[in-house]
Structure formats: structure tokens, C-alpha cells
Amino acid sequence: MFRYLTKRILMLIPLMIGITLITFTVIHLAPGEPVEMQMAMNPKVGKEARERLTKFYGLDKPLHEQYFNWVGKIARLDLGRSFSSDNRPVLDKIKERLPVTISLNVIALLIEFGLAIPIGILAATRRDTWLDKGITVFVFIGFAVPTFWLALLLMYFFGVKLAWLPISGLHTLGSDSWGTVRYLADMAQHLIMPVMVASFGSLAGLSRYMRSAMLNVINQDYITTARAKGLSERVVIWKHALRNALLPLITLLGFSIPGLIGGSVIFETIFAIPGMGQLFYQSVMSRDYPVVMGILVIGAFLTLIGNLIADLAYAFADPRIRQGEG
């Protein structure tokens, strides 16, 4: 186990380097230089300030030196300051938005797994019945419907027509002065629609995966053996088959992070949720390069860590790896 762990952690190094390289490249696709962007807004800023900024971003140096410079700063968690007129440290801007996005995605993930696993099992065990087909169509509709359209339709029906749910934001105005329970209940109400939209969209991938994993397992010899032993179908499915079908899902968990973070751009914008997706979109549109770079790097690192945790969990659950041959 220890060897496996060290190996996995050492493997992170080239990946992190790759992540920074790609981020650096993406930013340099933009025409013009970042400092120029900032200065163009304000031609009056003197030559001196310009030189200071150029130095700060190291733009007087060759490209590879700029890169190393930047990576060095990241290593010290210095992401620079935003180009927008608030001029705030990028890290602050990301920090205040990260928790929202992460918690939203964690809730969405939990719901997604909570739904997808039973749905997938149901579809597998009732294979080729109307139920299976119904489930298939249902989950694919979730995937196929454009997120923002679904979101708007829900907002219109549940928010405007029926007035059951709040339309946007995270809190009702004035909720800060309420008691904790009421405050949290209010927040939960605000989260219903965004979470619904986020998890409905990704239900398809997971439940289909579960279905085929389950089918795969059911066709294995040991299940046939279990059945032959006369074990009830319930025990066979829920005890023997499920455990083995669930294992690969752990890895999938790690891989669904980037998709969810990416999708948050849309639903955070439409539901007015102040998360990282919204910040990224705004920063990209206003060419706020330090923030864009910061979010790309941090987002990718988070995925990397998510994957690592998933891998370790997998290793822990799978005796073949646990015993150190990995």
C-alpha cells in the first residue's frame, strides 16, 4: 500500500507540470500581452508603472523564463492580482467562490450517485423490459436537454407560475437575521432547482455505466455459481453482484469532477449563484487573465486530487492492489 501511495504521489508531479504548461499556453493564445490589456485602459499610467508591471509579470524575459517565474509564484500560492478595476488578489476571489461550487457539486454528486446506482441496477435486472427502456429514455432526456432551457422552464413553472421555489440566488434577502434552522432551510430551497438541473444532466452517464457493469457482473461465473447454490436472487444481486459492480464507480467519481465544474458555468450564471463557474465566465469575457489562469490551474489540481483520492479508495477496496502489486 505504501509503495503504491508513493508511486501515485510521484506521478502527480509530471501531471502538475503538464497542467501549468497547458494553462500557460491557453493564455498566450490571446493576442497582445496581458500588461498591454491593463495599460490600454489607462494610457495615463506612466512609463514607470508600466515597467513595474512588465517586471512584475516578467514580460521582459523570454517565454520559458516567464513560465518558470509564473510556476514559481504558483508554488508559493501567489496567483497575482485581478485585472479588473477591483484589483484584488486572485486567490481571494477564488477562495470566496470555491466553497459554493464545491458544496453544490458535492450535493449534486451525492444525489446523482444516490439515484443512478439504484436506477442502473433496476435497469440491469429488468433488462429489456419496458421499465428498462423507460429508464433509458428518461436518463438520456436528462442528458439531452440543454441545461439552460431546462433551468428556465423549471424557474418559470416552479418559481413564477406555482411560486413554490425561489428563482435564483442562494438566500432570501434578510435571511441573515433568521435562526440557523430557518436559514439553512431557506438555502436548501434555493438549491433545489440548481441541484436538480445539475444532477439530472449527469444521471445518464453514471446509470448507464452502472447498468452495464451490473450486466457484466451478472454474466460472470461466480454469480452463476451463487445462483446454482440456491441463493435467493436478492442476495445474489444485492450482495454478490453489487459489490463488484460498485468498485469501478469509485474511479468514475474522480472523473466526473471536471464535467461538473465545467457545467457549473451555465447553471451558476442562470441561477445567479456566485460560484467559480460564474467567476470564470466573467473573467474570460473581460480578459482577466490572472483569474483565468488561477481558476484553470486550481480547477485542474482539484480534479487531480479528486482522482488521487478515488484511486486510493479503489486501491483500498480492491485487495489485489492493496496487497502491493500495483
Binding site: P43, K44, G169, L173, A272
Partner: protein, 544 residues
């Protein structure tokens, strides 16, 4: 708050929270009976305004976006402001005297005004605001008017005396800029000041909290020198999507927003809506235009610019985009102002005439796609406009179609406001822009048309250069004689109509909507924002 962005408009924003300034016509939707019966102003409740963009900084001197100025307008004051009839009156200044030659203005501050932190407002604050504005190290777009100042002194803590070299017509209005607190800023770097997130002003509302991406909360300044505003809290909710914002309005989540023409005309006519909201309509003091980059070889020839104007049907734009709620623009001064020249002839919609003009300029042949070709190059250009303005995009698309029929291939590119300024406009990196100017009350338009104002970050970014206009602009601003000024601006309008450096498109109507709960809203030539401090919610209808 949906505002037509434009740097000039920001000067307007200083005077009213809502950048709706207006002149003549005002139509008020039927007022529910309740308004009349319970008209005793009460304090309490909140006013929630939806805003698409989040403010960037609450130091207005540094901001170039309308959202920032809208919020800052509640927090700060200027020395003077426009009243509801668009006359300049004192604000922080109790009174002001102008010397007989017009070269010296003396402002007398209201005694006893305090900053939100309790410190007294003094002439030092005004001096500081002036100095930091003209400091070349300050990144601001608002220094120009203050550069005309020859000398500024503070004889005592409540008096400021400003002297100009020559008569400067917009002088008084220029002191409407927000006065900043010297005791918190002097000697510090304004660009990194914490005041950008926690401002301290003198205005009717004081800053309470700013939750990034969610809301900015202001609360009534109980010690406001003109008396506390009735409504306890002013809340800006940040809702980046326009459809979401409209649904929030209907669901009661916000009290105040600007309607789009479609919403005004088609979606808000039902009883169920008018019972809960009051709609207002009046001409905005802004105009939409297409500005040609005159440094670009394609647009150097005025026949081409005239041809493009002739190919565009402005009636169609007003009908299709504004549902008829607007009027044609044909110059930089909107109808109804004293400087407006009614005699200027507009180029009428006439595609044939457009084709003739283009042919004269050498664009005769068409290629297989129906696009005009000259020396092998097809006639094509890109209209650049800013993101988040559906009407502007629709206008651009109609223009695109009309120009296509005369053989011009137009592309449309939409760019976010900050990037639009930084990357394209300021660098002269564009062919045609579609933008709006919010125009101030004074007709002075030196910043937009004078040939010296064409450096990056300045407003004559199309590079217009006309010696006669240059001379007239200076004539117009350096006198107080209305007749002389009128003559100068009349002539400028004639020249611009002939030169067509812009194709002036239309003056849209402002279409604000306010929750019926809010009483005391009084449309006036200045719009509806002028008496915001007197708005109130009757006790029995308060919700927050």
C-alpha cells in the same frame, strides 16, 4: 441596472441612481387606487434593484462600468446635482456664486455634513478629489473637465474657490463628480484602497455589506443632511441573466429594473402585472450609433459612410427593436434640447441612392455572392458591440441584413464591456462599433469630437478630425452666451450630418418598472430617480 454603457454616461450616473434622464413626454401606467388613499410616507422596508453586472469598484473615480456608478451614486454626493427639471442645484454645496466674468466659482459647503464614519466633510475633501482626479498616476477617465481649472483654493473649511483661464461652460456641471473622503485616502495609493470594497461617502445610503456575486446592501443614512431616506435599505441583487432577472421581478424578488421594449409592449400589459407594478416610459437621454474607424481605409471616404446610412432603415429599427418606443437620431443632440438643430437634414433610407454612392466611390462590381468587390477585395467589415444588450444585437442584425442587400458583408462581434474598451476601442482595433452615448445636459461634446481627444482611452476613438468642428467646439464651451453657443452647436450638427462619422441610429425610450409597493415615484424630465429618497412603502405593505 441596465444602462447604456459609455464613459460619458457615467457623468450622468453621478446625478441620479438610475441613468434615466428625460425631457418631454412621460407616460404613466394606470395607478392603482391604493396609491391615492395611503399616502402618508413611512420609513422602513427595502428596495431591491436587479443588476446584470456586478460593480467592480465603489471608488467611482476608478470605475468605468455603469453598475459601479449606480451603486456609488447612492453613497456619495457631488458639490452640485441636477434637480428633477434638470437644472443644476447645490448638493453638498449649500450655495455657489459665479463671478460676473464666469471665471470663478465659489462653493459654500453645507455646514455639519459628516462622512459615514463620522468625520466632518470639509473643503479639504474637495481639494483632494480634484488633485487625485488630475493626478496623472490615477487611472481615471474623468480628468478632462478638471484640467481646465486654473487654480483652486480653500479659503476656509467650508469654502472652495475655483478659477478658470477662460469661460468654461460645463464648469459648474463638472463639479457634480463624487467627492471622496480625504481623511481616508490622502497619502495612500487609491488603486489599492480598501474603500473600493467598503466605501465611505456622504450620501443618503451608507455601505453595509457586499457579498461577492450576490448582493450589495446599503442602509439609510439616518444623519443624511437632507433628511434620512424613507426606505431603510437599498439592495442591489446581482443576477447575470436577463431572463432570470425578469422572472425574479414577476416572482417579487426584485422591485426595480429596466424593461426591454418587448417586455414593456407585450409581456407586461396584463392586469395581473399592472396591479403589482408601475411602468414608466420616457425618452432616454442617450442615442445609439455606429461609429466608423476613420483611420481605416474603407471608411476614409465620406460617400461610403453616407451610403451605409442611406442603406439603413431607421424606422425599421425602431419598429423591430423598440416596438416603436423611441425616435430616430440624426445627430449628437437629442430632439427637445436647446442646442438641437431641427433644420439638419437626415440621410433618408434609400438603397438606390446608397448603391449610387458606393458606385461613385468605386464599388461597382459584385461577386457571385452578391458582395461588392473593388480591385478584387470584397466589401466587408465587422460591427463590434458589447455583450449583454439584446437590443443592440438585434439592431446589428437588422443592419447586417440591410447592408447585405446593397452588397456589403457585415459580421457582428460581441465582446464583454471591459474587454471591449481595453482590447478594441482604446487600441483603435475595430472597424465599426455600435455603442450609445448617454448625453449630459450641457451640449458640450468636446471630448467626443475634438481631434485632440483621439489618444487611447479617450472618447474620440473613431479618430474624427475636422478643423471647423474643433474650432466650434472650443467656441461652444468657452462662452456663457447661449446664442453664441447655439450657433456653434447648430453648425456642428450640420457638419456631422454631412460627414457621417457616425450613423446616428435612434434614441430609445427608458422603460423602468417599479413595484407598486413603492410609493412616491414621480416621473419628471430627469427620469424617476431624482426623488428616490422620498420613495416609501406604506407600513402595511412592507415586506422586508
Amino acid at each position: 441596472m441596465i444602462v447604456l454603457p459609455g464613459v460619458r454616461c457615467l457623468l450622468m450616473a453621478l446625478f441620479s441612481s438610475m441613468v434615466f434622464a428625460a425631457c418631454t413626454r412621460s407616460e404613466i401606467s394606470p395607478v392603482p387606487a391604493a396609491v391615492v388613499s395611503s399616502s402618508i410616507p413611512a420609513t422602513g422596508d427595502s428596495l431591491v434593484e436587479g443588476t446584470i453586472g456586478e460593480a467592480s469598484t465603489l471608488i467611482p473615480l476608478l470605475a468605468s462600468d455603469a453598475s459601479s456608478h449606480a451603486v456609488a451614486g447612492q453613497i456619495y454626493n457631488g458639490l452640485v446635482k441636477y434637480d428633477k427639471n434638470l437644472n443644476i442645484v447645490g448638493d453638498l454645496a449649500k450655495s455657489f456664486d459665479i463671478s460676473a466674468d464666469g471665471l470663478t466659482i465659489t462653493f459654500h459647503l453645507h455646514p455639519g455634513i459628516t462622512w459615514h464614519d463620522g468625520a466632518p466633510l470639509t473643503s479639504r475633501d474637495v481639494l483632494y478629489t480634484y488633485r487625485i482626479t488630475i493626478d496623472p498616476k490615477t487611472p481615471t477617465a474623468y480628468a478632462e473637465d478638471f484640467k481646465q481649472v486654473k487654480n483652486i483654493t480653500a479659503p476656509d473649511i467650508h469654502t472652495i474657490r475655483v478659477t478658470y483661464d477662460s469661460p468654461f461652460a460645463p464648469a459648474l456641471a463638472s463639479w457634480g463628480v463624487n467627492i471622496l473622503p480625504a481623511h481616508l485616502l490622502e497619502g495612500k495609493d487609491i488603486t489599492t484602497s480598501p474603500l473600493s470594497r467598503r466605501p465611505v461617502g456622504t450620501g443618503p445610503y451608507r455601505f453595509k455589506e457586499w457579498v461577492s456575486g450576490q448582493k450589495i446592501v446599503l442602509e439609510a443614512n439616518k444623519d443624511y443632511f437632507e433628511g434620512r431616506p424613507n426606505i431603510d435599505r437599498f439592495i442591489y441583487r446581482i443576477i447575470p441573466d436577463s431572463s432570470t432577472m425578469y422572472m425574479e421581478l414577476k416572482a417579487g424578488g426584485i422591485d426595480l429594473m429596466n424593461l426591454t421594449p418587448v417586455q414593456y409592449a407585450r409581456q407586461t400589459a396584463a392586469k395581473s402585472f399592472t396591479r403589482r407594478f408601475n411602468k414608466y416610459r420616457y425618452p432616454s437621454s442617450s442615442y445609439l450609433y455606429m461609429g466608423y474607424n476613420l483611420r481605416h481605409p474603407l471608411f476614409g471616404d465620406k460617400r461610403i459612410r453616407q451610403a451605409i446610412t442611406a442603406a439603413i432603415n431607421k424606422d425599421e429599427l425602431i419598429q423591430g427593436v423598440l416596438f416603436g418606443m423611441g425616435q430616430k437620431a440624426h445627430g449628437p443632440i437629442v430632439p427637445g434640447r436647446w442646442a438641437y438643430n431641427p433644420a439638419v437634414r437626415d440621410i433618408a433610407y434609400d438603397p438606390k441612392h446608397a448603391a449610387e454612392l458606393l458606385a461613385e466611390a468605386g464599388w461597382k462590381e459584385k461577386n457571385s455572392d452578391g458582395i461588392l468587390v473593388k480591385n478584387g477585395t470584397p466589401f466587408k467589415f465587422t460591427i463590434l458591440t458589447n455583450q449583454g444588450n439584446q437590443q443592440r444585437l438585434m439592431t446589428a442584425q437588422i443592419v447586417q441584413q440591410r447592408l447585405r442587400t446593397v452588397g456589403i458583408d457585415v459580421r457582428i462581434r460581441i465582446v464583454e464591456w471591459a474587454a471591449f474598451l481595453k482590447e478594441f476601442v482604446n487600441k483603435g482595433n475595430f472597424e465599426v462599433v455600435m455603442l450609445a452615448w448617454n448625453i449630459s445636459q450641457d451640449p458640450d461634446m468636446y471630448d467626443i469630437w475634438h481631434s485632440s481627444k483621439n489618444k487611447p482611452g479617450e472618447l474620440n476613438f473613431i479618430g474624427f478630425k475636422n478643423a471647423e468642428v474643433d474650432r466650434l467646439l472650443i467656441e461652444g464651451r468657452n462662452t456663457f452666451d447661449i446664442e453664441k453657443r447655439r450657433r456653434a452647436y447648430f453648425r456642428i450638427q450640420e457638419i456631422l450630418a454631412e460627414e457621417q462619422p457616425y450613423t446616428f441610429l435612434y434614441v430609445p425610450d427608458a422603460l423602468p418598472v417599479v413595484s407598486a409597493r413603492i410609493r412616491g415615484v414621480e416621473p419628471a424630465p430627469a427620469g424617476i430617480g431624482h426623488n428616490q429618497n422620498h420613495w416609501y412603502v406604506p407600513k402595511n405593505e412592507q415586506v422586508y
